[in-house]
């Protein structure tokens, strides 16, 4: 059985006035029917990786790779028209803030229906019924009423659940979640993650979870890739994260304040410039 996604030797570059900025420098990883976490700080290249898989990087940014395969089929070099079918139906993406990723002048239910109608050749009534089903699947009570609401009328947690509904309705094989809970309150976070987790499992999907929160990712994912300076510095199983060996990962783990373990001073991460030059660790299965 082939992997859901294979990415080999991915390079993402952006030309700027002072030279070419290499956001991602030759990373390789693959995704099975599992939850893969990509962790990094700002500037590590994790968000552009997610966007590059969906070919959402616009020129003058360039995306080069030996291959990007979805279930063995190339999606890097296919024409834009074919890629549009892949987006949504093959791979979907959830972004950070539902305030910005939901259209403010459309009712949320209509946005979900639209996502469905783009990929399925059915009637509006069918789309409506499926949308209500999806809203129930993300634990929204009173789905008919919520269908008619506008994005500014729903809370952050509910907005994110609506995004999940919208992104899962075309039945994609892979879900990319780019910091899906960073703008949510702490108590709502777990709820949203649990819903995402359940749906991904039920449908046998793969999940790429991009975040800066190492602990969250380690609790929620099966495998973790640590990115820094456009490279993968470490790849390990989530439950073995505390045994991570790379000094950057250890540094990140140690620099977080912990409730259970008070310290006078936090360990400060010493960035070794050598990390930028070492070869990228492979995240292939």
């Amino acid at each position: 059985m082939s992997n859901l996604l294979d990415v080999e030797n991915l390079w993402i570059k952006f030309p700027t006035r002072s030279g070419v900025c290499e956001a991602v420098r030759g990373i390789s990883f693959s995704l099975g029917r599992e939850r893969l976490g990509i962790v990094g700080e700002s500037g590590s290249g994790k968000s552009v990786t997610g966007r590059a898989i969906l070919r959402l990087i616009r020129p003058p940014g360039t995306v080069e790779a030996d291959r990007i395969d979805l279930e063995g089929r190339d999606i890097l070099r296919i024409p834009e028209l074919e890629m549009r079918e892949v987006r949504g139906q093959g791979i979907s993406m959830i972004m950070q803030d539902p305030k910005f990723s939901l259209n403010p002048v459309m009712r949320v239910g209509d946005q979900i229906s639209e996502a469905y109608l783009l990929h399925a050749d059915t009637s509006r009534a069918q789309a409506y019924a499926r949308s209500i089903e999806m809203l129930e699947a993300v634990s929204i009570r009173g789905p008919e009423r919520v269908y008619t609401m506008y994005p500014h009328e729903v809370s952050g947690g509910m907005g994110q659940r609506i995004m999940i509904a919208m992104m899962l309705i075309p039945d994609p094989k892979i879900l990319i979640a780019d910091e899906p809970t960073s703008s949510l309150d702490v108590s709502v976070r777990m709820q949203v993650l649990e819903i995402m987790d359940r749906l991904v499992r039920e449908r046998g999907m793969g999940l790429i979870f991009i975040s800066h929160d190492l602990h969250l990712v380690s609790r929620f994912c099966d495998r973790v890739l640590i990115m820094y300076g456009g490279k993968i510095l470490e790849s390990c199983r989530a439950d073995k994260l505390h045994e991570a060996r790379h000094p950057y990962t250890r540094g990140l783990l140690n620099s977080l304040p912990r409730l259970e373990a008070p310290r006078d001073r936090l360990d400060v991460l010493n960035r070794d410039p050598a990390w930028l030059d070492q070869p990228s660790v492979s995240g292939m299965l």
Partner: protein, 256 residues
Amino acid sequence: MNGILIENLNVWFSEGHDRVDAVNGANFEVPAGGSFGLVGESGSGKSTILRALTGMVKTWSGRMEMLGRELGPTRDRSFYRAVQMVFQDPYGSLHPRHSVDRVISETLQLHGFSDIDNRVSGLLEDVGLGPEFRFRYPHQISGGQRQRVSIARALASEPEILLLDEPTSALDVSVQAEILNLLTDLRKQRKLTYLMVTHDLTVVSHLCTDIAVMQLGKIVEILSVEDMRAHKTSHPYTSHLLNSSLGRRREATEAG
């Protein structure tokens, strides 16, 4: 008492039909030299209390005291000298067209200091920024560095009380550690009093000794950080926050 005293504070926005009560009957005290945290989720009213303290909100009732003096509808020069604030968003708290040097010099000028050049270098050194940062503009420095500049600006008037509005929530994890260490050191060196607002229990437990937990405008519990670590909480909301922060599932909802 020389710290902060809040007694029966109510803060609201708009009048009549549109009135929204952001803070209801808040009571707490911060001793001089202490470090106190206001914890809550969005909409809990914690940032509103800071804004009421600095005089940015006019519609409030109750009693607020700082450094032994009761606060009225306006603030004066001596207040601004003694009380300063560090803001959450490192990208919004610096004027985009002013260099670091200009930001701090202007602050020193407004407070009537004369030895500006030396003080600017001194302040930058205190917050761990080298002289190469002095003439840069905000878009040329990183988020953590901007936050350091904000802290330097706050320290310029040699205040006694620092109000911290989620100072590290917009920063990367490793940068957060540096800023938290910096704040810890500064408090010891300059004998400052901290009132910090945050939603992150791990951060508040690191920097503060006591916390007040807020929910929907009310303070539901005041407890020491040690008690919180030991789970000696008395209000269910506090234990709910604690559990969410530790990543445990809520007993009440089992998704599915």
